[in-house]
């Protein structure tokens, strides 16, 4: 049983970034110099408060949590919801990732957005984004969590469409927003179902309602399964899983630090966190977990296959994120939330690093994102190249870098874990090889070989300033050494130890690292040693290659199946029902009165003699009737 200790410390973790957002919103434009201090500064403050809170938590020992009851939010008689924050080891990890990585990204943004006219607005959104994400992970109940959940959705919309004068960016922002709304509908339905079943939204009180959740059914379906699946729909939206992953690659339209923030520290990890947080519920619904595992594995595979052929450096990384998130859900699905969270953290390290590195490359290339026009950048941007190498090796799973440990934990968990699905483990190994291949391809095309840029870009080419490279170095160190943080053990303080926890045997470790080296080696052979081989390969694999290049035409499929029918239905409603039926009825009753009055108006000539005539007719009729 968890004992919650009251504190008033936690609110400052949330309030500080929010104050930063307010400062930048109202004073940022006037005090231009303050933005670049306040923006990252509040994050550092939140990080330090978080460290202090975690030290307090640690001093309380196992099975403890800090609870900051800020105010009673909804005091209805039967149902109450408090605005309370909750810090246990699970949320502590997330707070460290969000504020820590977030701080580095903020510092980097100072350099990256230096020339932008709207820096104040940018940092307002950025701080607000972090605020919303912190509310999400620290929320004591699901209602408050939903506030943060919607908050990150809003901020992602604002930031992806940050350069709103470009139509394409505005559309990408809208797409992220709308796709997420679809997922949120699932989340809300699950939430309602939970309230109906147990009458509370408190996450920490869920263990007391296990019996009710286990026995209740709705329409013949166990409630736990229904809630689990509905909440997973929400998670697929936020965390970009099949079928709602399509917004994430388009989200690349935003400034690169935003991509790093979305992909590393906020937003996409929300779905993973939600399912880990609701582990009590999912333990009652193994079928829901099975769905999570299968969706995760297939998302990982699909996205990795797409990533292989993309030429936009950020698109490769975006599909890579979708793929890695698939790993995390696979980990959750096979009953290892610790391993999933482990991958969340290491992924935050190396994906944050890779995005910021890509941003550094784009910055140096003067906005060029096409890898076909890069190459040989190791001579021009040595520090970026070195840190990117660390990130590439880490994500590919080269031992003993961080990605190796977290990925191995998940894949071996799929093969021999508590809810093992060995065939999903096989997909996991396949994706591990593909990951090394596409990341090796990205690195080779960007930094090795010869420079393929035009003269103007070549002349402009330069290493990024220290304010940008310093976060890269810190993240590179974390990517290399992050695997030694005992995240699974920390998470299991909250979720409990999985049954039959198995350590991977030596052959599995050798296999995993062999796949990593194999993928990287193949990429080196294809893109450095024999650069014309990929072209021939692409020609030979014609249809398959084009399918991958076109992202398996999923967007087009959605367009046909959902978007266009919706537009057609909306068009029908607009033209036939609204303009025809409703407007017709409204205008019809108006013109009916108008027509009738046109007839009666004839009587009102204003001519006295006409009135006198009708008067006479009336008198004659009256007399005729009286004298009858």
């Amino acid at each position: 049983m968890v004992t919650a200790t009251p504190t008033e410390l936690l609110r400052w973790i949330v309030v500080l970034p929010f104050l930063g957002a307010l400062w930048n919103l109202f004073l940022g434009r006037r005090l231009k110099g303050s933005v670049t201090l306040v923006g990252p500064g509040v994050l550092l403050g939140a990080f330090l408060v978080g460290v202090k809170a975690i030290l307090d938590l640690h001093a309380l020992g196992h099975d403890a949590a800090l609870r900051d009851a800020v105010f009673t939010w909804i005091p209805a008689s039967e149902f109450t919801a408090e605005a309370a924050l909750w810090l246990d080891p699970l949320s502590a990890i997330m707070v460290m990732v969000i504020t820590g990585i977030g701080f580095l990204i903020h510092v980097y943004s100072v350099g990256y957005m230096h020339d932008d006219a709207d820096v104040a607005r940018f940092f307002t959104y950025l701080n607000l984004f972090v605020t919303a994400m912190l509310i999400l992970v620290l929320a004591d109940n699901l209602l408050l969590l939903f506030v943060g959940w919607e908050g990150v959705g809003l901020c992602s919309y604002l930031l992806i469409g940050f350069w709103y004068d470009k139509e394409e960016n505005a559309i990408a922002g809208k797409k992220a927003f709308i796709v997420n709304r679809v997922g949120d509908a699932g989340f809300l339905l699950g939430l309602f179902l939970l309230v109906q079943t147990v009458g509370t939204v408190d996450i920490s009180s869920l263990p007391q309602h296990v019996d009710a959740l286990r026995t209740a059914t709705i329409g013949g379906v166990p409630v736990a399964l229904a809630i689990g699946l509905l909440m997973f729909v929400g998670a697929t939206g936020k965390s970009a899983q099949i079928p709602l992953y399509v917004w994430l690659p388009d989200a690349m339209a935003g400034p690169t630090p935003v991509s790093a923030l979305i992909h590393a520290a906020t937003m996409v990890t929300a779905g993973v966190y939600l399912i880990a947080r609701m582990h009590v519920l999912y333990a009652l619904a193994p079928a829901a977990l099975e769905v999570v595992a299968i969706i995760g594995a297939f998302t990982a595979l699909l996205a990795a296959l797409i990533a292989i052929t993309q030429t936009d450096i950020k698109k490769v990384l975006a599909y890579s994120t979708v793929s890695q998130l698939g790993y995390m859900f696979l980990g959750l699905g096979v009953g290892l939330p610790g391993a999933a969270l482990f991958h969340v953290v290491t992924h935050a390290f190396f994906k944050g690093l890779l995005f910021l590195g890509a941003g550094s490359v784009i910055h140096g290339m003067g906005g060029e994102q096409d890898m076909r026009k890069m190459g040989g950048l190791r001579h021009h941007m040595p520090l970026t190249c070195l840190t990117m190498l660390a990130g590439t090796l880490a994500i590919s799973g080269v031992p003993p870098l961080s990605g190796f440990f977290s990925k191995d934990e998940i894949i071996w968990g799929a093969v021999a874990g508590p809810h093992a699905q060995p065939w999903l483990g096989v997909i996991g190994y396949l994706v591990a090889f593909l990951t090394a291949l596409y990341m090796g391809r990205l690195f080779c095309m960007t930094f090795l070989g010869t420079l393929r840029a035009d003269e103007h870009t070549k002349h402009h080419l330069h290493e990024s300033p220290a304010v940008m490279t310093l976060p890269l170095v810190v993240l590179a160190l974390l990517s290399v050494g992050g695997g030694f943080i005992p995240i699974p053990a920390i998470v299991e303080l909250v979720t409990g130890h999985p049954h039959g926890h198995a350590h991977a045997p030596l052959w599995a470790l050798v296999l995993a690292s062999g796949l990593a080296f194999g993928g990287l080696g193949l990429a080196y052979a294809l893109y450095v040693v024999a650069p014309d081989a990929p072209v021939r390969l692409a020609a030979n694999l014609g249809a398959l290659y084009r399918l991958s290049l076109d992202k398996f035409r999923i967007d087009e499929l959605y367009d046909r199946l959902i978007v266009r029918p919706l537009f057609a239905a909306a068009g029908f409603l607009a033209s036939t029902i609204d303009q025809g039926l409703i407007d017709g009825a409204v205008n019809g009753s108006g013109s009916l009165v108008s027509e009738a009055s046109r007839l009666v108006r004839r009587l009102q000539t204003g001519n006295v003699q006409h009135y006198a005539f009708s008067f006479l007719v009336g008198v004659v009729l009256l007399l005729g009737w009286m004298l009858r």
Binding site: Q604, T605, G606, N607, V608, Q609, A612, F613, L616
Partner: protein, 108 residues
């Protein structure tokens, strides 16, 4: 030849028929003529037709009530004529017409 000699033996119905004919001429005049003064005159004709009925009835009954009412009617008609002519005079100043068809701006 006095009126008694001329009409002394005439029954009241003759007066009433004459009165009705005069009244009908007045009504038709009000309805068909467009000149406001002529309409006005036709109204006077209708009033006098009624006066004739009053006098005829009074004489037939041998009482004076009818004659008295006729004086009232004539007094009111004189007052009405003064007001009506004043209105027409004013109307002619503003609109330069006393044609009833052209003075319909007060409708609605």
């Amino acid at each position: 030849m006095t009126p008694e000699q001329l009409l002394g033996n005439a029954p009241p119905s003759w007066y009433l028929v004459l009165s009705a004919v005069l009244f009908a001429i007045g009504v038709v005049g009000v309805l068909v003529r467009r000149n406001l003064i002529v309409i006005f005159m036709c109204v006077e004709l209708m009033l006098n037709a009624v006066n004739l009925s009053f006098v005829a009835f009074a004489r037939a009954q041998g009482v004076m009530d009818g004659q008295v009412i006729v004086f009232f009617v004539m007094a009111v008609a004189a007052a009405e004529a003064a007001v009506g002519l004043a209105i027409m005079l004013q109307l002619f100043r503003v609109r330069e017409t006393i044609n009833a068809d052209e003075v319909t701006t007060l409708r609605w």
